[in-house]
Subunit: 725 residues, 2 copies
């Protein structure tokens, strides 16, 4: 039974990485509600040594009673099928329908169709299918209802302002309701099985995720499974992070699948009593994702880094983009923000981004920052903007805008007398896991910088949502804050932003954070940019970043400044360092100065460190954006930019997925080849000689700099040039 | 099985009308959450001719993840049992506990106990029982969690400000979790069964509520049940408001209970195919309430009015105080407000009041008035105050205060430039079902008056909750509004408040509403009061009220002005009029000018009128407060006032329940007898001769007015006097 369901759901999910098209019948719901409930479900699966370990922040719920609405205009009478998750009623032209409601006859002409659904434990959802009337993304929905009747029974008119566009995903089968969803699984054998005196140790050969399965189980007794991302962890039954314990009698099948999915490479299985089993395998549980992005180059270590990064992102892309697969399995906004960016260069899975953004945002009223972390609130805003830039999905921006506005109102309400943010009661000011002493007190330059960027995002999105006055207001706020940022934190002495200001006094500490983001966001003058590059980014005496999380931005900033050769060495050293230690996925934290089991510890626990952490996969993003050099310039890749950079490699080759197709890039010292399925943009490159092209005309843009307009879809542009040594 | 459960729940509910005592183990939850979920469940049971008919307003949900907290101080080690509805974890002194959690050993000494529970579909709740450690009303709970850890694994301290007092009811059995609750039932036979050719009509002799039961069912076919509060309705299969249709094969038991509970006196049962049954009975479903109040007098019709009022209130007191039992079965704030007041004179069921207040208030953010009705928001505030006055429950006021504050913030945010409220988009300005043309436009004097009273309530409650500054602020707002009320609406020409003001222009229409409430709230000078009494209340040409709903306040105002004889005649005429028409419960609307089936119609539907409507039971309140004359002067009846008034009767006798026991009153023209179980207060009366008493000393307070201090608990005070003719 279970397998059948998984297969069904798996099949249904073949298109899970793109949205249902308008005009195609799909299950629809109140936007964000399905996402919030699924996130509750997923995030509450965390355990620590068997103990339930729920998230730290408020969990929200769906609207339990919602009303769907559509105006239809029919050339002929039509019978529509109606499916719903929950109790429901149907109104046609405002009149309640009686009797059976799963088939409704709608006469020719223009009609108003309302379907009201109540569901306390699952998300109210409908699926409607007729010849022309289908539940698609053009439907509207509301949780409000200002319907009332007067004593004569006359209903008041309902204001259309209470309706919003429905949410949906990829549930196109009327028979498979959204609440039935679970990720598909596939069987996987163990690579090595070691049978000890009182236990069995299995090794699946690489980091993996899923349900352990015991075959040929006989007898009775306690079954204990100790999971390990490392061999050490699985064998340390008193110290491993995750375990399962169950008493086996004869009520279980001989081939027994554990009920909880876990992250592991190793599992140590201990049975007592008369309990015996033949062998151990697993059901690998995964989100079906297509690797639309690709990368190969002349350096095999870098290829391996890309592959392991891709696998790391695949594993930590589940119902949502989660932090890591062993421990939290939660949606952390700062982590997810990076997954979004990486995912644009691998899966281009738009629904996973919007699902994650909805889950993070939750419902009003806002009673804390996202994940309780101030910086994570800002990454959320930035994530909305990036999503818009990469996909061009204005509908989503309009749909999300009210929630952006209320979140920003919360932020604005917490400003101090200087109009800046400092940590108030209940705020977690995170920034990064740093080894050095970092003050979280007063106004942090890093937080104001992200705040400033978030205000810019608000301005853009208010414009898209049609609130011109708000757009202008947010623009003013961001400009004012940007000025304060320089007045308050820029130090001419340090040639950088200082870390913070307490009681109006600038500290003397320079940390990388604000400086990195100032470069990335283009907030600095050319002179300031060079100053920061020297004083912070390339300064061997600057404070060291030891998390792949913040290395993401540090290396991106260096790439943005043209330091691809330097970054390539860093990637080989840092990510290559993990590979040399046997990593099969990238870690939450890596410090080359540590050794042995030190690499496994974190948070004061011997195996506290996650060895498969999404933020470890940033080479995907760096290689796609700064080596293959592909990025959108206008929303949805309407205009793109391709700026290949070998960074010291002999050749690179790969693909970057976009909203309209793929962009393929090949580059070596003499040839650049580019094919774009859709959109248009320029290929930028330098050349020591006058370049040639098979299509179009190469323009000189100054010195040795050239550009070529790529505008013919699916045609391969081949450029002969000579790389400047 | 079902019967057993009902019996269990019934037994558990023996104390449902009072709260669990501190120190006694009880199921606890986040305050309001159980109430909100139960209200969703109840209110979504409405159907119209079989079609699902959910409420008009937003339905909220519980917090799905909450954390309970208690500091314990133990003289000796103690083992506690832990029960939870939902997945949970336990922390002792901040340390997560592993392994089995249903028994926890707590060592002697002072310890912090945290239990975190997740439940999506039911309310997270716990039950803890040890020798001294029990889950009682002293526990705290939060939906927030600002817990986080640093890289070393150290947890941050949690601010106690995020915690609030838990909610509870009467669930004292660890084995019966709150989600299992349903109202008990008891079998009831039909009074008359008429077998027709193709149908059977059963009459249960009086209005009732529950599950119809068919005995000795045989064969197969469609079973249709048409319910009627009247014989006409049950027989009008095409027009009755509620019906059930089910196909009967052999999957149902021979003695078959319908799945939905309905309101009816009559039921017409139609079976086709080979379907046959022997006879019909029902399971009467009820809220176990004790009639603590009592009333008897020399007028049998009035006694019958009191009895039918009590039964009407009993029927419409279910999981919550609902409007009526046939149609909506929803919690309407204006209706509930009256049920609260009536209930203080019959059941004194404090938990039913707080449950209803919580359910009405729902959750933030506020997106509409309560039930979408402006006046109903204000009745809610007034209901909180009355609850405090009658019960003295300050804990509830403190617990509810944040929700009072956010609701008032919503109201204040909707004021116009004059600082007054007028109906905005989405607001239903109800006032009353009136037969005359009543403008709902501009500023209605009635709405401002209730708004002013609500601000006074806010001021009192802010004081109780410890927000002195807010208390002062609300006091200023209410004083300002009161002045505006007189400036804007009082007409010296009309000797009354006019109905409304549009664009700053006073209308010339005088309606009873604002004038009635101005009398009740004591807003008028002695002179203005007499003016209103003559120009509105006793004016035969004034606009007529035709709902028992607004008659409640009209008659109360007359009683407050000493017009008990007049009101008694009105009661006999109005409620007696319904009895003469065969009413076995009181109606939503009664207009003596109507006849026959006109009495059944409303909302443009032939049987739209509810024949058992809570607001029809107001004689309970009038007779208790203004004839037996008992009312609290200080919160929780700490001080009371007893002012019997025969209102033209030869004698009255009865009991009024209070927070501390009962107050029994007997009065005829020569003797008054009073016994109070607790508290103290004065008995007030007039006498044509010098009165005598068996206990204490009668004081003369002027003219023929006397008073006697009632201060000895449970002693009967007997006063000889002579009623002034």
């Amino acid at each position: 039974m279970k397998t059948v369901k998984f297969l069904l759901v798996g099949a249904m999910l073949m298109s899970a990485t793109s949205f249902a098209e308008a005009g195609a019948a799909t299950w629809i719901w109140y936007p964000g509600d399905y996402e919030i409930l699924m996130a509750n479900n997923m995030q509450n699966r965390r355990t620590e040594r068997g103990a339930f370990y729920p998230p730290f922040w408020r969990m929200d719920s769906h609207y339990v009673l919602v009303e769907f609405f559509k105006t239809v205009d029919l050339a002929a009478d039509e019978e529509v099928e109606i499916y719903a998750e929950g109790q429901y009623n149907v109104k046609l032209d405002g009149r309640l329908q009686f009797g059976k409601l799963d088939r409704l006859n709608i006469p020719a002409g223009r009609h108003r169709l309302n379907i009201k659904v109540y569901n306390q434990s699952a998300v109210p959802a409908i699926f409607v299918r007729g010849k022309t009337v289908v539940s698609d993304t053009s439907w509207l929905v509301t949780f409000k209802d200002t319907d009332w009747i007067d004593m004569s029974g006359k209903a008041s008119d309902k204001s259309m302002a209470i309706f919003v566009n429905v949410g949906s995903w990829s549930f196109s089968d009327a028979q498979v309701a959204p609440s039935q969803f679970s990720l598909p699984t596939t069987p996987k054998a163990a690579a090595v099985t070691e049978r000890g005196e009182s236990s069995v140790l299995v090794d699946f050969g690489q980091e993996t995720f899923g349900f352990l399965k015991l075959h040929g189980m006989k007898g009775k007794g306690n079954l204990s499974v100790y999971y390990g991302e490392s061999r050490e962890e699985a064998l340390d039954t008193a110290g491993c992070e995750t375990l399962d314990r169950i008493y086996i009698d004869h009520s279980q099948p001989e081939d027994f699948v554990m009920s909880a999915s876990r992250a592991f490479r190793y599992a140590s299985i201990v049975a007592d009593g008369t309990l015996l089993f033949d062998n151990v395998s697993m059901l690998y549980e995964y989100m079906p994702e297509e690797y639309r992005g690709a990368f190969r180059c002349s350096d095999e270590e870098l290829n391996r880094i890309w592959d392991v990064s891709a696998y790391t992102l695949q594993l930590s892309t589940r119902e949502f983009f989660i932090d890591g697969i062993k421990r939290d399995r939660w949606i952390w906004s700062g982590d997810a923000y990076q997954s979004f960016l990486m995912s644009y260069y691998l899966f281009f899975d738009a629904p996973s981004v919007t699902r994650t953004l909805y889950a993070l945002r939750g419902k009003d009223p806002i009673t804390s920052h996202i994940n309780t972390i101030m910086d994570y609130t800002f990454y959320w805003f930035m994530g909305v903007y990036d999503y818009y830039l990469f996909t061009g999905d204005e509908r989503f921006v309009r749909q999300m805008y009210p929630r952006m506005e209320s979140l920003m109102a919360y932020v604005l309400g917490r400003r101090n007398a200087n109009g800046m943010l400092e940590g108030l009661s209940g705020d977690w000011v995170f920034v990064d896991w740093a080894e050095f002493a970092m003050s979280k007190k007063g106004e942090l330059s890093f937080e104001q910088l992200l705040f400033c960027r978030s205000l810019e995002v608000m301005s853009v999105c208010a414009g898209i949502a049609g609130y011109g006055e708000s757009a202008a207001g947010y623009a003013v706020l961001s400009q004012e804050l940007r000025q304060k940022l320089f007045d308050g934190f820029w130090s001419n002495e340090k040639n950088a932003f200082v870390h913070n200001r307490e009681n109006g006094r600038q500290s003397s500490q320079v940390t990388p954070y604000a400086n990195i983001f100032a470069v990335l966001l283009g907030y600095l003058s050319a002179e300031q940019t060079q100053a920061v590059k020297q004083s912070v980014l390339l300064n061997p005496n600057a404070l060291k970043i030891t998390t792949p999380y913040m290395r993401f931005y540090e290396l991106e900033a260096l790439c943005a400044l043209g330091e691809q050769e330097h970054v390539l060495k860093e990637m080989k050293s840092y990510w290559g360092g993990m590979l040399k230690l046997g990593a099969t996925s990238f870690w939450e934290k890596y410090d080359p100065r540590e050794s042995g089991a030190q690499h496994l510890a974190m948070y004061g626990r011997p195996y506290g460190r996650s060895l498969c952490h999404a933020w470890g996969a940033s080479p995907l993003y760096l290689l796609g954006k700064y080596y293959m050099g592909v990025q959108p310039l206008k929303p949805g890749y309407g205009e793109f930019c391709i700026k290949p950079n070998l960074g010291g490699l002999q050749w690179i080759e790969g693909k970057v997925p976009t909203a309209g197709g793929d962009i393929a890039v090949y580059a070596d010292a003499k040839t650049i080849k580019v094919t774009a399925d859709a959109g248009q943009g320029f290929l930028y490159f330098s050349s020591a000689k006058k370049p040639k092209t098979n299509i179009g005309v190469v323009e000189k843009v100054g010195g040795n700099e050239y550009r070529l307009l790529i505008s013919e879809p699916k045609k391969q542009y081949v450029v002969s040039y000579l790389k400047i040594q």
